[in-house]
Symmetry: none
Amino acid sequence: MTETSAPPVLSASIPAIVLVRPQMGENIGAAARAMWNFGLDHMRVVAPRDGWPNPSAVAMASGAGRLLDEAQHCTDLPSALADCDFTFATTARGRDLTKPVYSPEAAMKLAAEKIVSGQRVAVLFGPERAGLENEDIAQANAIVSVPVNPRFASLNLAQCVLLMSYEWMRAQGEVTHEVTEMAGTDWAKGAEIDHLARHYEDQLAEAGFFFPEHKTASMKLNLRNMWSRMPLTRADVQMLHGILRQMVRWKEKG
Amino acid sequence: MTETSAPPVLSASIPAIVLVRPQMGENIGAAARAMWNFGLDHMRVVAPRDGWPNPSAVAMASGAGRLLDEAQHCTDLPSALADCDFTFATTARGRDLTKPVYSPEAAMKLAAEKIVSGQRVAVLFGPERAGLENEDIAQANAIVSVPVNPRFASLNLAQCVLLMSYEWMRAQGEVTHEVTEMAGTDWAKGAEIDHLARHYEDQLAEAGFFFPEHKTASMKLNLRNMWSRMPLTRADVQMLHGILRQMVRWKEKG
């Protein structure tokens, strides 16, 4: 789970800001300041390039250093999302992935609604240079795309965190409490979706599903994207495990 | 009027971003980048501490250097506002001044309306440390106050410019499609979902999944419910058929 502390437990009241493979400590510190300006204080850092804790981040975070002290350091993305019900991935532009794409405003309104109904929400930000990889995005439920000038899209990490945090604060108070219909639903957590995805991946590999070989990677990505895009309950996940297990039993009976 | 060029003539289509007595060149350059990210390219600098042009600003503005080349350098605020019909002053919080106070969103919507009706609009930003003086604000028609965390209000100049520019772009209707709910996605039709459901039902029956018998009906219902609740694309449906077919092939190979 985390390297440095107990398993992450996400406050039910705010989204976690998850920095995936951040490079410069200064940017991590600036992101912490950007978050705290708008009342967000739950940060997770996944495989930061320069290790953790990071003195440059601390120096930059002045006034928001507590966020870094309390940040959860995770070795990989699945462990960072293990307790999350719904994950947004921020990208420079909507890519060719079959996931819903939200504006920052719509995304943070949705996040606020989900949080009110008891779900735990995470927002992913990629490394400074390249942004999130398709494999990262495959673990998210939806995409957030900031509408920038197509001739100059140069938002840095902290600016992107700033805009999302700003929209989070704006979404507060605008949340109507009508979104209770699915409240009480036992949604599958990130770790359960990840486990399901790996079960299918492994079993289908054994069954020869990923063929031809040069298509294996994209087939696996499509499958991951499908699982993460689906609003799966715990019962759904159990049923999907059960389906696969039964097919294996059936084969083994010959 | 300006020191270095002809009297400022503000484009009728966008607001001018007016930096009042900015201190660090880096912040001026970062403000230029923030503006251009959201399509604003009209900057005015009033009495910058380190003179004009400013090499540090140019170094920081990379990609948005044109905004600095074209920026209008004014010796005082009245000359910077000479051609403006309506001026917003940004402040950390609404002060005890008898002026309307707008949120960034409301301010940029109002700015867009005024510009459409042919008015010229400016937005003032104060020096990094102290912000705008009351004398500066006295020259504005309205105040813009960014709703920050009262326990940590540390937005820097470029961040403040970023948020206003972002709200400007949002006000343009360029972002009317708040939720691009996977526009163009090839959603599976009802008949295709039904076909998928029957494929699983039949094949899983053959594999002995529906057991014990008195639970068969409710298991089938759960499965149907799951398929119909999922936002499945045609590609998803094909993949789900493929998964099942491959498991059957695998069994038949023995």
